[in-house]
């Protein structure tokens, strides 16, 4: 927009530094020929113009006018920042930083999730019996302190009395049935060392681990979730779950993990006692194999003779099935021929899928966390197999038969 005539003296500065545009020069000089004052001003400005026309002088002045490092620095930065290019650059940088931060957060979240998953898996393997059970017990819970120690070794009860290792299953069952339920507080105090009160989670894990190690196969078979220590630990876990979002046991429970450890009881009864003496002496003695589970599930029994591959004997081939459904406490009886070397018993919460006979050999190998407890009795060989890990869906055991039959 051209300046009004009376304001053309504003262009004088551009005249001296020779920085006027062509239009500004035309305006200024034409006005100077009409306006004496403007002409005089331009004539006076000529001295400065000549001075600034000298390159040496100009260079000296530029050096003198160089911006102060301290004062001009921020202004220069501010000017650069507020310019369109600066704003675009800053916007780009901001978007980049935002993307990096977002990416890092997503990465951290994925790492945390992976760590949580690993921790839950670890928790499962370390303290498998912390989950509560809604299934009522098959029988009244037995005194844990009487059955969790190895049968062969003498042990002390809560009162310090030495219990002989040769106590029989019958006597134990009788005593268990006749004895009222006892609170396991004294034992609990002995077996569960107090963890620091501040670290509730650690305490629960330690307690659950104590329960798992304290529970024997027989206890797990009978006591199930009503085991006092289990119940106490479960109750505590539940109370903590309400307030502690990091309680890993909650995740295990929420996943619908079974509440009762898988356990079975089997016994071998020599058939010769049930048969006439002439029949029994005619060939290899057979045995009756009786198995029962502590909960509803599916049973499969294979037999092995010599080096031959296993053969499914329960359910029988005639049924056309590969899984025999059983309920808690139901006895499945099987007459085992005398030439049988081993039986492979499998118990599962879900029906078995088809496997080859070679695979059945592998299937007979039980889990390392599996507990076994045997009761050596003159008339009945009763053994208990249980896995305290409630997440385990299948129990398997290979039972040598030969010595018992022959």
């Amino acid at each position: 927009m051209p300046l009004p005539e009376h304001e053309l003296e504003k262009l004088l500065g551009g005249f001296a530094s020779d920085t006027l545009t062509a239009e500004e020069r035309q305006q200024l000089y034409a006005a100077a020929l009409r306006d004496q004052e403007l002409f005089n001003a331009l004539a006076d400005e000529q001295g400065l113009k000549d001075l600034l026309a000298d390159p040496v002088v100009r260079r000296k002045l530029l050096v003198a006018l160089a911006p102060h490092r301290d004062a001009g620095h921020w202004r220069s930065w501010l000017d650069r920042f507020t310019s369109p290019a600066g704003l675009a650059w800053a916007g780009g940088v901001a978007v980049g930083v935002f993307a990096v931060v977002l990416g890092l957060r997503v990465y951290e979240a994925s790492l945390r999730q992976a760590a949580d998953t690993a921790a839950v898996e670890e928790q499962r393997s370390m303290a498998p019996s912390t989950a509560p059970s809604a299934v009522p017990p098959l029988q009244a819970p037995l005194e844990e302190e009487k059955h969790k120690e190895p049968m062969a070794a003498p042990r002390a009860d809560v009162t310090g009395k030495i219990i002989p290792p040769s106590s029989t299953l019958k006597s134990r069952e009788q005593s268990a049935a006749s004895r009222p339920r006892q609170e396991p507080e004294p034992r609990k105090k002995q077996t569960a060392p107090q963890a620091p009160a501040a670290d509730t989670e650690v305490r629960i894990m330690a307690q659950a681990e104590t329960v798992a190690t304290a529970a024997s196969a027989r206890t797990l078979f009978y006591a199930q979730a009503s085991h006092p220590n289990l119940a106490a630990a479960t109750q505590e876990v539940e109370s903590v779950q309400k307030t502690d979002r990091l309680a890993l046991a909650k995740k295990a429970t929420e996943r619908g993990a079974p509440a009762t450890p898988l356990a079975l009881r089997y016994s071998l009864i020599s058939a010769e006692r049930q048969l006439p003496a002439d029949v029994a002496a005619g060939g290899p003695t057979s045995v009756n194999f009786i198995v029962q589970s502590n909960q509803e599930g599916y049973v499969q029994i294979w037999k092995r003779t010599g080096d031959s591959l296993p053969e499914l004997v329960l359910p029988a081939k005639e049924t056309g099935r590969i899984s025999l459904k059983t309920i808690a406490g139901e006895r499945q009886q099987l007459a085992v021929p005398g030439d049988t070397d081993r039986l492979i018993v499998r118990l599962s919460r879900v029906p078995f899928g088809p496997i080859t006979r070679q695979e059945a050999v592998m299937a007979g190998r039980g889990s390392p966390t599996q507990l076994t407890e045997s009761s050596l009795d003159a008339e009945e060989q009763a053994s208990y197999v249980a896995n305290p890990d409630i997440s385990v869906a299948e129990l398997a055991i290979e039972i040598p038969i030969g010595s018992a039959a022959r």
């Binding site: 504003k10 530094s17 920085t19 062509a22 020929l33 000529q46 400065l48 001075l51 600034l52 911006p67």
Partner: protein
């Protein structure tokens, strides 16, 4: 506007300007000398935007020359003949010294300016036009830049004692 019209207008303005600075007789001579230079040495320059600044340049040299002659003749200061230099000093040396003094004064004056004026002068010395300076200083109106420049120049002129010479 053709060259003759421009020269005619220039004669009128130069005479009026010179009359304010020197005596009327000298002003007439000065004007005549300027126009003679323009006529004899620059007959090919006819554009307004070239002829007018050229006239200002010639006028300044003629004024300085007249000023030096007056000094040498003692027209401003009636000093004793004994005080006058016997030999005429070297003109170029005198001019150089004069310019050096002016540059020193200018540098001293610029050092006293505010940050905005210094910035504005710096961009002008770097050859930036007013519209470019307007962009650099982030102003929406170029009149703001004109006004700032006028004020800064007046401030600088005042710091130099009221004259660029």
């Amino acid at each position: 506007m053709d060259r003759d019209a421009i020269l005619s207008a220039l004669r009128e303005r130069i005479l009026a300007f010179a009359t304010l600075r020197v005596s009327k007789d000298h002003a007439e001579d000065l004007t005549q000398d300027v126009l003679a230079v323009l006529h004899d040495k620059y007959p090919h320059v006819g554009e307004l935007t070239e002829l007018v600044p050229l006239a200002f340049q010639v006028l300044r040299y003629k004024m300085l020359d007249a000023h030096r002659k007056a000094l040498r003749r003692g027209e401003y200061n009636q000093a004793s003949v004994d005080d006058l230099a016997l030999a005429a000093p070297d003109v170029s040396h005198e001019t150089q010294l004069d310019q050096k003094q002016r540059v020193d004064r200018l540098l001293a004056a610029i050092a006293q300016l505010g940050e905005r004026c210094r910035e504005l002068f710096r961009w002008k010395l770097e050859g930036k036009s007013f519209p470019e300076i307007q962009t650099l200083m982030g102003q929406t109106s170029i009149n703001t830049i004109y006004t700032w420049d006028l004020r800064c120049r007046k401030q600088l002129l005042a710091l130099m004692g009221g004259s660029w010479e």
